[in-house]
Subunit: 337 residues, 2 copies
Amino acid sequence: MATRADVAKLAKVSPSTVSYVLSGTRSISEETRKKVLSAIKELDYRPNHAAGSLAGGRSKIIAFIVPSGKSGMSPSFVEYISGVSNAVRERGYHLTIYNNNEITPKEIYHFYQSGVLDGVVLMEIEYNDKRVEFLTSRHVPLVLIGRTGKDDKLSFVDRDFETDGEAAVNYLSKLGHTSIALIRVRRSEKDTGISADIRFFESIKKACKQLGVTLWDRYSENSAAAGRETFIKLRNEHPEISAAITLGDYLTFAFVNAANEFGIKVPKDYSILALAIPDISIELTWPALTTLTVKDEELGYNAGKILLDRLENESEESVHQLWRGELVERGTTAKKI
Amino acid sequence: MATRADVAKLAKVSPSTVSYVLSGTRSISEETRKKVLSAIKELDYRPNHAAGSLAGGRSKIIAFIVPSGKSGMSPSFVEYISGVSNAVRERGYHLTIYNNNEITPKEIYHFYQSGVLDGVVLMEIEYNDKRVEFLTSRHVPLVLIGRTGKDDKLSFVDRDFETDGEAAVNYLSKLGHTSIALIRVRRSEKDTGISADIRFFESIKKACKQLGVTLWDRYSENSAAAGRETFIKLRNEHPEISAAITLGDYLTFAFVNAANEFGIKVPKDYSILALAIPDISIELTWPALTTLTVKDEELGYNAGKILLDRLENESEESVHQLWRGELVERGTTAKKI
DNA sequence: ATGAAAGCGCTAACAA
DNA sequence: TTGTTAGCGCTTTCAT
């Protein structure tokens, strides 16, 4: 491969001039710029990335830590990946992916120490997130998709749970439902719960109280099997419940399927409002889901952007973005009869 | 951050000795090894990645080019990501992800030239794949998940379509189905078709001929809407068809849902056998899908491994891995009545 | 078994 | 506007 020295020689300029033409960090006469650019073209020169990193002190690599479902990463995370990926590519950065199950915060820090990565985007933040604590204490540049319990000095992109939770209850209440279930996600026995779960619960509980709606709060693993089981149990215990608000994609699909299976008509006999379904999966059930969701890809995109802004401006100011969902009525909700 | 020189000073050895302790490429006395390791620990030293790459000539970064669905990457690709990711992490490499839609083969080559990546894993290979052609002609180390029409000198990991296609037809034929449909995936009008589609078609056609089964070959985009439309049209045109073999996940879900929607009982009136569904999505429909699938994560894992073997042994021998699917009967297939 | 030293190909400060 | 030069922190060859 051609090096900068080769280009310099061919263009009859000094090596550093080649660098300056490429970086645009100092003014260059039109003449030399042309010479240099044509030499670059002729030799098909690309600056060596490692050399740049070594001299410049930054790798231009961002890491995205992706959570894992039972059998690997869950499909719903793909939209985030896509969003973050687009954000970093726009600015000439690269995106590395690590499985949350396969990597410890310590290892992430090691990668940061060794300069393989300039910053990290983290998702599925828990209310008390040890990863966040560890990485911030080590000053690893960090942006969260979600947030911890303490509204930190950290930058994050998250849903506006207060508004969305209220909107969900409002909607179902207007349809005449007075007894509803909230199905939220728990990933394991010892799971303290991700922040989204807890915040949604708080706002939904509050709204139910105000509107005189009875709320049944349930946990389910986000899998088809667990969702089905939860539905059956709930139905047996509380046949008076006529609507459910669900978090988690698989569990939601299972809810619709379980209703079908047991001859309960959705939405005539049972309304289901999904709060966390990736766009691409909305039409997967029959009938199609009524949703109140945000665009995950957009959240990912913004998380990436915020991180790069911070890295390039060296600014320490944290930014907090809250996104409101949009309610789209499809086939799984109806007036209570 | 501490550098190698700091460690050397503290351990009272030369800098290169530190490197050799770490790389294990020359014998070291137990005494100096101990001194060095404890100095490393004390200083919390991590070798600088860029410096290593620059001096050593390899970035230890592998790129995975992921295809995009309509709205970003499709969920079914997540298992591959997971597999490749695990393979590279095991060997101390890092995995970068690029969207097929957002990156040209030329850009991939640029990254290779600049040393940001040592090799590439490519998936959703077309029968005539220009990306493959371009990258091989530039000698970018490459491993395919899938394969092109010409059985190259390239390494690949792929399904054993001949065997699996035959097994699928055999199974349905034994259940008494004599008129079946094959629904395969087309991503756009001008799409020549991915290799999997074509190879499955060939083997299924052959098996049908041998067993006296009538085959109806159809294309559908892999989306819920397109799958539904395809089902309806097919049902109207050929009500005698009693079973379908499907490729593509979304389209398969839509098939089951459309049957539900129109009061056609699955599997009593209509059998559906899915050939390409990620494990995690198998239970998403009701009833759960009967499948004949391979473990995508395992394919991804092996693709990654093969690439690293090649990079580290510098061997030019290509390896061709063919994986057979496993038939698992669940709720969407039954004897024809 | 260990050390010394020549690069790897850049960035950026300094000099002209 | 351009050139010179001192690193950046390693890998690896050559010496000892």
